[in-house]
Symmetry: C2
Subunit: 446 residues, 2 copies
């Protein structure tokens, strides 16, 4: 059995390692177009924040460990250009321009996603950078090290943009942000998005919402991001408007596609060709709340899906239930988290949503050091089901979100969730946890 894997990051290397553990005799070949494998992409902003840290600290396991200790045939600098599903063969070329072709019994497409760059003038200029691959991170660090960067303009106010704003401020670099949307984090409940915006102001981030970028211009040494009635200049521009799945190979091979042109997979990670699996940022997933397909590229799913592919290639018949769309990130002193659906998404998927937004304290009555914590909770009027939760606050948000995550996996009603015997001690929250306060309020609306 020859198991070929295209892509050597989270999903690809998880699959390779697990398949080798399952079946030490299996022939496993990983084709990675770059020289980087198995790194913590999510850690890049925190590494960039510190000029003294080497970007390669983010490599979780080096290519040599995979090759020598695990016996995986890992071929870096091997780019796959085409896929013949009837001949069960991949075709490609190396960084040295040698071409190769390789037959497979089972194939895993784990080609990831790429940063989106708009097709507008000036986005190709030097100093206009994106952050997705480890090499992107390397390029940014090198650019910051070799240029006297005083100010960076960030296009896009999603979580990568926000994390990078924090990282750059840690290096005392001025940051201006601009986004087409009318609030930061467009999925967020508006009054809670304002809490995030206030945090940006507190850390001297200038930001401009509802602004459409027209082009980037270079004037002497500076770059100018030009909008209708706004021009923002800096020494570097970071384009952080989102990512898209690297699915061109699959498109050309005629595999079925899911949301946003990701590769469509079933619960076993099989594509429309039963010998071809897909996992990681290039593949779609079932959403456990809607039961429908979604594309939310995140690290845990990539690792888990890689394992599932390995198990299925080895005949174990593993089926993943899907994702809840959980995300958490840090914005300066705030923790921001979400899981499940917001009201708009809930309506879109045929639910009859009711929502509450509550503000509570992060510690008990009279306990020193408490701060505010905001919770938005969405339930379905028709079924009483819990549909989603968003939270923001200075402490106790990041891990607190996992309680509703599990409730979503358990298809619990808001009423059932409200009866959870959550932990209480004065340093960590009020007797009625903010989540329970929200649930108790929401029950009245259902």
């Amino acid at each position: 059995m020859k198991f070929v894997i295209i892509g050597g990051d989270a999903a690809g290397m998880s699959a390779a390692s697990r398949a080798k553990r399952n079946r030490p005799d299996m022939e496993i070949i990983v084709l990675e177009k770059t020289v980087d494998v198995s790194y913590s992409a999510c850690g890049m902003p925190y590494n960039i924040a510190d000029p003294d840290r080497d970007i390669d600290e983010l490599v979780v396991r080096s290519a040599s460990v995979f090759r020598e200790k695990q016996g995986i045939n890992l071929l870096t600098g091997h780019c796959v250009d085409a896929l013949d599903v009837s001949a069960k063969t991949v075709f490609g070329s190396t960084l040295e321009n040698d071409s190769f072709e390789l037959p497979y019994d089972r194939l895993l497409v784990a080609t990831g996603a790429s940063a989106m760059v708009p097709d507008l003038p000036g986005f190709e200029l030097p100093g206009v950078l994106t952050l997705k691959s480890l090499n992107d991170g390397r390029t940014i660090k090198q650019f910051l090290a070799s240029n006297n960067v005083q100010k960076v303009v960030i296009i896009g106010m999603g979580y990568i943009g926000l994390e990078m704003a924090e990282a750059l401020r840690a290096r005392k670099i001025d940051v201006a942000m601009v986004d087409l949307m009318s609030q930061t984090l467009p999925w967020m409940e508006p009054s809670m998005a304002e809490v995030v915006e206030e945090e940006l102001r507190l850390h001297d981030i200038g930001f401009y919402l509802g602004q459409e970028v027209k082009r980037i211009e270079k004037n002497e040494t500076r770059l100018s991001v030009v909008c209708e009635n706004l021009t923002l200049s800096g020494d570097m521009v970071l384009v952080a408007i989102g990512v898209r799945p690297n699915s061109q190979l699959a498109v050309e091979a005629g595999l079925d596609l899911g949301p946003q042109r990701s590769l469509a997979v079933d619960g076993m990670m099989q594509t429309s060709d039963p010998d071809i699996y897909a996992a990681g940022d290039c593949a779609d997933a079932f959403h456990i709340v809607t039961g429908r397909k979604t594309w939310i590229p995140l690290a845990l799913r990539a690792n888990r899906a890689g394992w599932a592919v390995a198990d299925n290639v080895c005949g174990k018949n593993v089926k993943l239930p899907g994702i809840a769309g959980t995300a958490v990130f840090k914005v300066f002193d705030l923790e921001v988290a979400r899981t499940g659906l917001n009201s708009g998404e809930a309506s879109e998927y045929g639910f009859t949503p009711a929502e509450v937004v509550i503000k509570a304290r992060s510690r008990a009555h009279a306990h020193p050091g408490a701060s505010n914590i905001w919770v938005q909770m969405v339930g379905d009027k028709a079924s009483g089901r819990l549909l989603g939760v968003q939270m923001v606050g200075k402490e106790g948000v990041a891990h607190r979100i996992n309680a509703p995550v599990v409730a979503l996996h358990g298809y619990m009603t808001v009423e059932q969730f409200s009866q959870s015997d959550l932990a209480y001690a004065p340093p960590f929250g009020p007797v009625w946890d903010p989540l329970l306060i929200a649930a108790n309020q929401l029950i009245k609306q259902l």
Copy 2:
């Protein structure tokens, strides 16, 4: 309808307030034997830690607010001595020694629990104190303020003892602890209890395990706690060996009892007399994992049970599913949490437990500031069900425990829990959350 409530703390006042909101015309009489109502008992160690804070800061709502703003007939200094269930009447006396009798239509017994004091010589000496009621807290603060307390001996190494050890060290008071058991927190997985013990050593707490206290002696100004081959002397002794339900009234009235002589209640909080409810630290509860009765007196349950009684007295027919035995507390720089059953308890209740203990990191690979986090997870070999989790670590424990809490409420298997789409970002944990690492390991044992 006359609704009489015995006891004016968490359960009693929650019931009174909610009944009044449900039915503003209802006659509600609360009989509280002390002068303190509605205070945060769990906050006492943190208040005691700071000599400048008034203990009355812990009062959540004052008696006058209940009386004047909420229209509740709250009678403090009213001690109920007897209960005639056939005449539906309570009998008692006031602090001024006036006797009273009061008929009821519905009665709530919310008499709480009291600190246990062994029947041994010297435990009645001045300076030998307990901590359960607000007045206990007041007494401790006054004792510390008016005596030159250099050292305190704490008998008992449960969470109250540990929280008080931290509080006293914050006041630069030396602490020695002694316990009959062979480890701190006897319910805790032994290697994790050692982590707690190491934390005590780091904060200069001398502790002596497996020591049976024989008596307390007074020698000049100092108190000596005498064991077989050990004598610990200090200026004050705190007895923190546990609490027992205040159920004497109910015993004498012939009501059915539950575990540890608590008042037996059904899911609606009704005792064996359908006109009498019980809630709070004096009442038992169903354990959601075992489905059997248990007595675990904690604040959230008291509040929730008070609400349920009020709703049921008002005809709403509310049934509580029960408790998971969730607890969390802080010991110096550690967070300690548990929910559900440990292996011993699981065996006792007829499960076939398997358990794992894993050590993970509190933040992602290469993220600065990470510390260790230990997770013990117990599952049932027969059914695959998740039975319980314990955790200890410097960060990310207190709220992380709530994910398995919800899984217990949802009767999830370890396999189902392992598929949860938990939150990930480098500052808050590894891609595979410590809970998922534990679940993935445990699945192999099931």
